[in-house]
Point group: C2
Chain length 225, copies 2
């Protein structure tokens, strides 16, 4: 995908629009690209991979329905905004799969550069506001961001379950790798953390994720801090 030129440069808006609205609509068209950023997760409803826009929508609905399981009280409307915004930087930085050790090393730098570029399209006050939402999600220092992150871990787990393996079958990944990756789910909801553990345990029992790594396979990456 050519991301050097803005989508709206291919077809500029009518002349004479108010500058603030033009900047907002330019951003709104540009983020159409999120629909083309593919994740590793397979859909449950069709034989293809999920994209980031679909994923972000799914998390938003999960927040609405599962908020009662947050360990701390959360503002549902604010949490929904966090998940709607959380993957925008992948428009320019790309998706870094959860089990991709090499990509993880450069992920933070790539995503910060992408945030500067993307949010910079907005009027200054809104660039600050969207950046703040994204920073809040990443830092996980608020109850809302911890719960949003929990949803970001739970959704692909459900899709992997429905696929009878999915990305759990990535080379080098074992049930313990998956458990380590899902640890942050418990930071938002102890209850949903237990539910996730039940899915992983049963997946391991059924052989959808391996219990141990064959000797000739790479060591799985260390879990994130």
């Amino acid at each position: 995908m050519d991301v050097d030129a803005l989508l709206t440069e291919q077809n500029p808006f009518p002349a004479g629009l108010d500058a603030r609205i033009a900047a907002q609509l330019t951003f709104i068209v540009e983020v159409d690209r999120l629909k083309t950023v593919l994740r590793q997760s397979p859909l449950a409803a069709a034989p293809r991979r999920e994209n980031d826009a679909e994923h972000s929508w799914h998390l938003a609905l999960m927040v609405i329905l599962l908020a009662e399981h947050s360990d701390e009280p959360i503002d549902v409307g604010h949490t929904v905004q966090l998940v709607v915004v959380h993957d925008l930087v992948e428009i320019y930085a790309g998706d870094t799969p959860l089990y991709d050790e090499v990509g993880a090393r450069t992920q933070e730098a790539r995503e910060r550069a992408a945030a500067d570029k993307l949010f910079g399209l907005l009027p200054a006050d809104q660039a600050v506001r969207l950046r703040a939402l994204w920073d809040e999600f990443e830092a996980r220092e608020t109850p809302e961001s911890r719960f949003a992150k929990a949803m970001d871990r739970l959704e692909p787990l459900l899709l992997n379950w429905m696929a009878r393996g999915g990305t759990w079958q990535t080379p080098g990944v074992t049930a313990d790798t998956v458990r380590a990756r899902k640890a942050s789910l418990r930071d938002g909801s102890r209850r949903l953390g237990e539910v996730a553990a039940a899915f992983i345990d049963e997946g391991e029992r059924r052989g959808w994720v391996r219990s141990a790594r064959p000797a000739d396979e790479p060591v799985p990456p260390a879990p994130p801090a």
Copy 2:
């Protein structure tokens, strides 16, 4: 798509889950189907049609960025929830294109049956709550629902602009049909209504939507009340 059986019937959850959580997760997996409901709108970022999940995510982001243009003060978090939920019934009822006269006649009955079926999967209190969000969106009696509906009209207009026509080129449709269909945009935001008019006027000038109907083409459907 076989929608008689739930997706989770193809691969039931681990035994022993709490009944309330199991119902919530069953619903959350079932709505994965929204990612397979295709709309008529072409994406700006790729040569394919948009699906309902992508569309719902896009509206959510638009609410966050454009709320300042609402004619009445709105609760952004609540409005985002309205758009996240607004198309769920299309999982069973299908998408009814804006310029589809025949489909529009049965749309309400189909969507009400779909809502009963889909929301009925949830714990009773949440079925009531999601149904209320959907009813609120449809009724357009609150400032939040009027603004949500305005976003639902503005997003495909931007995509049609980027496609240099898109669904504006549906047989029987003229610039005046498009103007009538976008009238409800002004109910949420007079300002964005004017912006939409500028896009339609310029689209008409460029021939991306026709000014008048050829004599042998069907009369376009009457605009909705």
